[in-house]
């Protein structure tokens, strides 16, 4: 394995990385062009924003990792009854847009605000991003190591801490990275919670007449924070080999007996489901029932649903395809170059949608006017925004696949392209499916880029929900929120199926 990848393999990966770096480049040019950056950044308000953003990212990510890992362990590795139901319930919050969840909680009480509220709502919305990879990994673990540990005298918790947790590290840190990036760029969910971060402040600056420069300066700080997060994740992942080496198939692990802790496990999971699903669904039901503007215009709803689904399918296909060469390079040809290429694809996700959209507008209008406001342009924006969702899933799948299979196929005379199609892809099909489903879910709720970059006249569930809820017709908005959840449900279900296939 050479540390320097061959040019042919490097080119597509570098091209993808360059594409996802466009928004960060746009921010950098803006900062360099404006001489006033120091004054705009050296203010007490920026210190306040920095504290808030860092607190939210650290606490939110820690909460998601804790909740996601514990829930995954309880569902996958204990004698809990009704496992399929719990699996579905634990993943289902992915189908509920974070801003709908936030509206739901907020309407319980207007005093629901501040850091605590922000951490609670974002944790309930994003813990499945940790739950999913951890649950998948728990199913794939060979129980032999744990059994050895037990034989050597360790009880349940030391075994969990010394043997299971280290093996879960890549899954936990991959999930944590996704959560942290989402929190950096989160706007919709924080809007009503009176908690300001860099991203909310950037939106505020764009609303002020003369303040493009201040917005770019703040976005510059956001890019730096993202680099910091990426660095931390690199340190946490570790480089241990995770693919099995032994011959034969791994047995299924024996479930841990819950015993007297059963009520705690059931109670915790019920609370989690109630908070993440019950509250937002209850809120939608309330709007549907109390509002006089509630209407179900069948034609309009049908057209909007199909546009949303087609865009989300295309977005998922494009994003996952683009992520593949980068993920492959970073796992199969590790080294400084491939790591740099892989890391750079995460930057777009940490920037607010408005910054990404304005960057693409500026570039497209100048250099690709024929593509401007075309479907292709919108799909490019989705790829830039959601690449990490596909990347994390693909990388996890590649890491669990022994590279020897590829080598064996090559030694049997199969050409590299055929190896990819006949060996590698089928082996990582689960990761491809999971990544695509995650991107699909993100596209369904994407708002800013869709508004600015879609072909004129395009209406998606998210744009219609936004349009109705800004003119405060909550009854009119509710059907769109409900449809977003229904359309997302199959993708969320697919994610649970994907992880169950590992058992068979």
């Amino acid at each position: 394995m050479s540390p320097i990848p061959t040019a042919l393999r490097l080119v597509p990966a570098v091209a993808v990385a360059a594409l996802t770096l466009l928004p960060a480049g746009y921010v950098l040019t803006g900062v360099l062009a404006d001489g006033d950056t120091a004054r705009l950044l050296w203010r007490p308000r920026v210190g306040e924003l920095l504290t808030n953003t860092v607190l939210l990212v650290v606490l939110g990510t820690a909460a998601c990792v804790t909740v996601g890992t514990l829930a995954a362990w309880a569902v996958e590795r204990t004698t809990l009854r009704g496992r399929p139901l719990w699996t579905a319930l634990m993943v289902a919050p992915l189908a509920v847009p974070a801003f709908v969840n936030s509206f739901g909680w907020y309407s319980l009480s207007p005093s629901f605000a501040g850091l605590g509220a922000a951490v609670l709502v974002t944790t309930l919305s994003y813990y499945p991003l940790v739950y999913l990879p951890v649950a998948a990994m728990l199913r794939g673990l060979d129980p032999a190591l744990e059994e050895q540990s037990r034989i050597l005298g360790n009880t349940t918790w030391p075994t969990f801490g010394r043997i299971v947790l280290p093996q879960l590290r890549p899954a936990m840190s991959g999930g944590a990275l996704l959560v942290a990036l989402h929190l950096l760029a989160e706007f919709g969910a924080l809007q009503a919670l009176r908690f300001d971060t860099f991203t909310t402040a950037i939106y505020d600056q764009y609303q002020s007449t003369f303040n493009g420069a201040a917005a770019t300066a703040l976005a510059g700080v956001l890019v730096l924070l993202c680099l910091l997060v990426l660095g931390c994740e690199l340190g946490l992942t570790g480089r241990a080999r995770l693919a099995r080496v032994g011959s034969g198939a791994a047995r299924r692990a024996l479930p841990h007996r819950l015993g007297h802790t059963a009520p705690v496990a059931y109670g915790g999971l019920v609370l989690l489901a109630a908070g993440a699903l019950g509250v937002p669904l209850g809120c939608i039901a309330f709007w549907l029932l109390t509002s006089t503007s509630t209407a179900f215009p069948a034609d309009e709803l049908l057209r909007t649903v199909s546009t949303s689904i087609v865009l989300a399918l295309l977005g998922a296909a494009v994003t996952t395809t683009l992520a593949l060469p980068v993920a492959w390079l970073s796992i199969r040809r590790p080294g400084r170059v491939s790591r740099l290429v892989e890391r750079s694809t995460y930057l777009g996700n940490s920037l607010p949608g408005i910054v990404v959209a304005l960057a693409l507008i500026t570039i497209a209008v100048r250099y690709l006017p024929s593509l401007y406001q075309s479907t292709a342009m919108l799909l490019t924006a989705y790829a830039v925004l959601f690449m990490p969702r596909a990347m994390v899933s693909l990388r996890a799948a590649l890491r669990q696949t022994p590279p020897e299979f590829d080598d064996v196929a090559r030694s049997l005379g199969v050409r590299p392209v055929a190896v990819l199609l006949r060996v590698t892809l089928p082996l990582i099909a689960r990761g491809v499916g999971a990544g695509s489903a995650l991107v699909f879910l993100a596209v369904i709720t994407e708002l800013t880029s869709t508004l600015l970059l879609a072909p004129i006249g395009t209406r998606t569930l998210a744009t219609q929900f936004w349009s109705s809820s800004t003119s405060i017709n909550y009854g009119q908005a509710a059907p769109y929120a409900l449809l977003m959840i229904l359309v997302s449900a199959p993708a969320a279900y697919l994610l649970t199926r994907r992880s169950r296939m590992a058992e068979s």
């Binding site: 007449t209 003369f210 304005l358 401007y372 089928p426 004129i456 800004t470 003119s471």
Partner: protein, 344 residues
């Protein structure tokens, strides 16, 4: 066996996606294909308002109008990023600062004289490059069980006094409240306004969005708040779940708090159909377009001469608004002042 199955599955998925891809590319392309003179409206007004104007104009003239929806700041920044290549012909907003932003980059064409004559000068750009098409009034929303009529502030300036500490909400991050602050600077002068702003920073509870403030007042979380009128009327018309415990106070008396925020409309310099675009703007700000607005359930004020506002609203003539130059609203000074006291 497993491998074959997976490959087949992958193939099937790819084909299905490919097929939908073709289907998808057809739909937006056909709707985006410019016919002889299809106008493009960048609509930051409420979607129903912009769409209603576009549909009625097409019915009357046969000129097609395609609508892109977004918020004031999104679309204004988009137009600036697009520059001379903007596909937009006409731009309408919720508040005038977004118009002033585009105007400051010299991207609007002058408005036809006949169109300007349809709207009173105080509701239009002093540069003559956009006109008012609708308006919303500043109001004080209050919980009627917590605040008696006698306790109400008589001027928006009263909110800086100690008795209002922690007792009202504002949404300083929104363009709405920023426009109100600029009105205070315009009406009261710099010194008085700066002292007031500091008082407001010390006294106010910070919310994001007008409807959030209204619901908080309704729930008794805060006794009152500064918002625009139509949030309240809109909620009342929609069942009143967020406003049934509240009432509105209009400041009047040419008080800065009686500020009327104007929604503007303008024709882009880069428009490829300037004649049709001017005609569309004339229609929206003219008697027919204004009547359409007044009769709709948008509950915004019509501003065209000779068209009465929606009868559910307090008449425009009774609002007794302060005189303000709309093109200077929300200027760099106000933003710097709000940054200085720490509201932004």
């Amino acid at each position: 066996m497993r491998t074959t199955r997976h490959t087949l599955l992958a193939l099937a998925v790819t084909t299905a996606i490919g097929l939908t891809a073709c289907g998808a590319d057809d739909t937006p392309a056909s709707s985006a294909a410019p016919s002889t003179a299809a106008l493009v409206l960048y609509n930051a007004q409420h979607e129903e308002v912009g769409q209603a104007w576009a549909d009625a104009f097409t019915a009357k003239t046969g000129i097609k109008v395609e609508v892109r929806n977004g918020s004031d700041f999104e679309l204004a920044n988009q137009i600036i990023a697009e520059g001379a290549a903007s596909p937009a012909d006409v731009f309408i907003t919720e508040n005038s600062p977004a118009m002033a932003l585009v105007s400051s980059k010299d991207l609007f064409a002058p408005v036809d004289a006949a169109t300007k004559a349809q709207v009173p000068a105080e509701y239009s750009s002093s540069k003559g490059d956009w006109v008012g098409v609708a308006a919303r009034s500043t109001v004080f929303v209050y919980n009627s069980t917590q605040v008696t009529d006698a306790q109400l502030p008589q001027s928006i300036m009263d909110l800086a006094k100690p008795e209002w500490k922690g007792r009202f909400g504002i949404s300083p991050s929104g363009a709405d409240f920023q426009a109100i602050v600029s009105a205070v600077y315009a009406v009261q002068g710099d010194a008085a306004a700066a002292a007031w702003l500091q008082g407001v920073k010390d006294n106010a509870k910070i919310y994001r969005g007008n409807s959030t403030i209204m619901k908080a007042a309704n729930a008794g979380e805060v006794p009152g708040g500064v918002i625009y009128h139509y949030y309240w009327y809109g909620d009342q018309a929609d069942g009143g779940a967020g406003s049934s415990n509240t009432k509105l106070k209009f400041f009047g008396n040419k008080d800065a708090g009686a500020f009327l925020s104007v929604s503007g409309g303008g024709v882009l310099k880069s428009s490829k159909h300037p004649a049709e675009a001017q005609r569309f703007l004339a229609y929206m700000s003219g008697p027919e377009g204004q009547k359409l607005l007044a009769d709709s359930d948008a509950l915004e004020y019509s501003v065209g001469t000779g068209v009465a506002a929606n009868p559910k609203l307090k008449p425009l003539a009774e609002l007794d608004i302060p005189p303000v130059d709309l093109n200077t609203l929300n200027g760099p000074k106000v933003i710097e002042e709000m940054q200085r006291v720490g509201l932004l």
